[in-house]
């Protein structure tokens, strides 16, 4: 691995050194941090230095497992004796100052015994973290409810626990020049496509940034096309979804301090799959999944279609609707484009306000916005009441997407569509659909086409993407992503039901 950053390169030998000298050097290296504590013990005529940053180590462990055995008895300590005596693992012998500092800031306790050639550090970090909670962003009715937390250890624990197989690999990588962050590349060794794993590993290793804020920004660094409006990696906070994807041969990435797991490669359509589909009966699950695809189309197309029809193509409106539409439009002083943009903007404002405000106020805003403003806008003659329905349906439809990212993508796509339909009518809508399709054909996710399994066409995978079939048809994993092992279970066993006689 290449050298990272300035701080690490000027590595100096620290030891051996006198106690006083070490003290000053450490203090200096810690920039006289008030939380940095150096305690000087004299045990059996020997000076022992114990130092740590008080607010990030576990006090209990420090007292019980380090200080107590250390101070007990009048032994002549040596480093080797101490390692044997303390009931903690993970001891690291250190000689370099910068490595010591690195260890200290990650929550280690350092112990130096006078005249020894190295000091030892014990990591006993005390990380504040919330407990495992229900998922807010991706709530499901059926299936496991737990969500990732900010703690990598907890997250890994949840994944390990779900996938208790020796096949699970969690490769450790450190990213960040100034503030390194631990990242785990998670996959099933004998299942995940090796090329995918290598691509992901390569991208993570080659990444040079000062600091990663979270898993979400990390995806923006490593995804295939940064200019595209479409997310190319699936981000989830559900361990169930994460481990399900792993068992389908995908590659996962977990980032320390982030409650989001990244899954790649993904297709556009996997953003409309929910784990719930798997827990539902296949026929119900299929219906709901198809419903979501319709919702996608409605959400993106309904308002532009309204604008196009009212501005250019009065012929396509059915006569009974035409009379009501015309009557309600007649009082509106704006052209349909502005009318639609106004109301779409209103809905977006409401959504944004609702998301930013505390939950209780948010609900009030929803009611105020939905009923009062909607009704008032019609009464004031700003919009036609049919547009209110149109906009409400398309807003509602955009919320059916299980992934928040794709939902917001669709909402944004709607605006250029509305403007184009206002300028050019159905031709404008067609032009923008063509543009979108051309764009989607070019997008890749971890080097794999984004529109799989439609393009390139893989008919066998339709039952995994667009609808679902009974389990005895789902013998194989998705062909599109070429996992090492295609077979999920043997065909013969799938069909056979054990009866009481067997």
């Amino acid at each position: 691995m290449k050298k990272r950053g300035m701080r690490r390169s000027n590595s100096k030998e620290l030891l051996p050194s006198s106690i006083e000298n070490l003290k000053t050097k450490l203090q200096e290296a810690m920039h006289n941090n008030p939380d940095f504590q150096i305690r000087d013990f004299e045990i059996g005529g020997q000076r022992v230095l114990v130092f740590y940053i008080s607010i990030i180590v576990k006090k209990q462990q420090l007292n019980d497992n380090i200080l107590a055995p250390l101070l007990k008895g009048d032994k002549q300590w040596t480093t080797q004796k101490l390692i044997n005596a303390l009931p903690l693992g993970n001891n690291v012998a250190q000689t370099k100052l910068n490595e010591v500092v690195d260890a200290l800031v990650q929550g280690s306790v350092g112990i130096y015994i006078e005249k020894e050639s190295e000091l030892i550090t014990y990591p006993i970090p005390d990380q504040e973290k919330r407990s495992v909670d229900k998922s807010d962003k991706e709530s499901t009715v059926l299936g496991p409810q737990d969500a990732f937390t900010e703690s990598l250890t907890t997250n890994l624990n949840m994944i390990r626990w779900r996938m208790n197989t020796g096949d699970l690999v969690t490769e450790k990588l450190l990213i960040g020049e100034r503030v390194p962050t631990e990242i785990r590349l998670v996959y099933l060794k004998n299942l995940a496509n090796k090329e995918d794993v290598q691509t992901m590993r390569q991208r993570l290793q080659d990444l040079v940034v000062d600091r990663i804020e979270d898993a979400t920004p990390l995806t923006y660094y490593i995804e295939d096309s940064s200019t595209s409006i479409f997310p190319q990696f699936y981000q989830t906070e559900l361990p169930s979804r994460f481990s399900y994807s792993l068992s389908m041969g995908r590659v996962g990435v977990l980032v320390d301090k982030s409650p989001t797991g990244i899954i790649a490669p993904t297709s556009l359509f996997s953003f409309f799959e929910s784990t719930e589909d798997v827990f539902m009966r296949w026929n119900v699950g299929s219906f709901i999944r198809i419903l979501r695809f319709f919702a996608l189309i409605i959400s993106a197309m309904l308002t532009p279609a309204y604008v196009a029809a009212l501005t250019f193509h009065y012929e396509v409106i059915p006569t009974p609707l035409l009379t009501t539409l015309g009557a309600s439009r007649a009082a509106v002083p704006f052209p349909p484009v502005f009318e639609a943009l106004l109301l779409e903007l209103l809905i977006e404002l409401l959504r944004e306000a609702g998301a930013r405000l505390p939950t209780k106020v948010g609900q009030t805003i929803g009611i105020v916005g939905g009923i009062v403003i909607g009704q008032a806008a019609v009464a004031a003659g700003l919009t036609s009441n049919i547009l209110i329905i149109v906009v409400a349906i398309s807003a509602l439809a955009s919320f059916t997407a299980p992934s928040y990212l794709i939902g917001s993508t669709i909402r944004v796509i709607r605006f250029p569509l509305i403007i184009l339909s206002g300028f050019l009518g159905l031709i404008g809508i067609m032009a923008s659909i063509c543009f979108l399709i051309i764009h989607l054909l070019k997008v890749t996710s971890l080097g794999r086409p984004y529109l799989l399994p439609i393009y390139p066409f893989v008919g066998k995978d339709f039952s995994k993407t667009f609808y679902r079939l009974p389990y005895y048809f789902n013998l194989k994993r998705s062909f599109s992503y070429k996992p090492q092992d295609m077979i999920r279970y043997p065909k013969k066993k799938a069909r056979k039901m054990k009866d009481i006689d067997d």
């Binding site: 501005t311 193509h313 006569t319 009974p320 035409l322 015309g326 009082a331 031709i427």
Partner: protein, 375 residues
């Protein structure tokens, strides 16, 4: 990037050229009535019924008339009289006055076919007086929505298989087809409401005569197929003298009235002899008796057989009467000529001459499948 911006800019500029039709500014024409002018025989009188979206107007329909030499010209003239832009995109019904229809309508319909904005599935109709008068009388004197009323009047009756489908496309198809003549509904005003009283027969593009709607039934029976038609018959009562049950009511009837419903028919016409211009038609009719004015023992098979036979005879009589009328008017709405033309190419004029010699062997087979549910 610069090029992209340039292309976008050009696109935006060209977008300015697309004509907009915001519906609140449109007078959306739904019905047109066309007549030939009484003084100037070359001029057309057109009456437009259109939807207007004026929040202050009580009636959503508005009516305007104008006079010009061409149909498009009348619209230009009418536009001057209206504060809305008159557009024909949702034209549903075109009604032609009988005097105009007698002169020929092909030139008017031609412009409609040519105009891509006008749907080919719009209905055509003939008014028994001036079309403009029919429209304005209904508009002024009745409370109905004149714009949708006429369309629904024709459409529902076509759906129920009472009328023959008479869209612009059907008309033009039959007009251009050799040995086939169009039929249109003939609309008259009864108590200020439009009503389809008869059917207008056309010889090519000119009005040739009319028949009743009931007679129109047989045109479809011979030329198409019924899925769920209905028919009312009056049969001579003497035929049933011996099987007739004792009359319960004291009504004196000389006929037996019968209503058939869910009538399914299937028909094929063949040219049997070119020399004699003889056709053979095999018609299979299946129907259900819905109403009968006499008590017959319909449980008995021979009674049903007898009834079928009488119905068959009566239908044959009516068909032959109708054919006589067609021969007399020299029209061919059933399309015998196109069957002839398929085997032996012929011109329209030659067929008109042959039409009077045309003979038809009817092979009618009536089958009563149900008599209703009686406990």
């Amino acid at each position: 990037m610069k090029r992209l911006i340039f292309v976008c800019f050009c696109l935006l500029l060209s977008a300015g050229c697309a004509p907009t039709y915001p519906i609140e500014r449109l007078g959306i024409i739904n019905t047109i009535g066309i007549d030939s002018d009484s003084q100037d025989s070359q001029a057309l009188n057109a009456t437009y019924v259109y939807f207007q979206f004026d929040p202050n107007a009580k009636n959503i329909n508005e009516i305007v008339s104008s006079k010009a030499k061409t149909l498009k010209g009348t619209r230009e003239k009418a536009n001057v009289k209206s504060n809305f832009q008159l557009v024909p995109g949702k034209l549903r019904v075109l009604m032609m006055g009988r005097p105009l229809a007698e002169k020929g309508v092909a030139s008017i319909l031609d412009t409609l076919v040519r105009d891509a904005k006008i749907t080919d599935t719009m209905y055509l109709a003939v008014a028994d007086s001036a079309a403009g008068n029919v429209l304005s009388e209904v508009f002024q004197r009745s409370t109905t929505n004149v714009g949708t009323h006429l369309y629904q009047l024709i459409d529902t009756n076509v759906d129920q298989e009472i009328l023959i489908r008479t869209t612009l496309r059907d008309f033009m198809h039959k007009y251009y087809d050799i040995g086939n003549d169009p039929v249109l509904p003939l609309i008259s005003v009864v108590e200020h409401m439009p009503s389809i009283e008869r059917m207008a027969l056309f010889r090519d593009e000119t009005y040739a005569g009319d028949i009743s709607v009931e007679e129109g039934f047989f045109i479809k029976l011979l030329s198409g197929r019924y899925q769920a038609g209905r028919l009312e018959l009056s049969l001579p009562i003497d035929e049933f003298e011996n099987i007739r049950q004792k009359d319960t009511d004291q009504r004196e009837e000389d006929s037996l009235f019968l209503s058939l419903s869910d009538l399914r028919s299937h028909n094929s016409i063949k040219l049997v002899s070119k020399k004699e211009v003889r056709f053979q038609s095999d018609i299979k009719v299946q129907a259900r008796i819905m109403e009968i004015s006499e008590q017959l023992e319909l449980d008995k098979e021979e009674v049903v057989k007898k009834l079928e036979k009488v119905i068959q005879k009566d239908m044959e009589r009516q068909i032959n009467q109708l054919l006589d009328k067609f021969r007399e008017l020299k029209v061919d709405p059933i399309g015998f000529g196109s069957i002839y033309n398929a085997k032996h190419p012929i011109t329209q004029e030659e067929w008109r001459k042959l039409l009077s010699e045309m003979k038809l062997d009817l092979n009618l087979n009536v089958n009563i499948i149900r008599q209703g549910i009686i406990d």
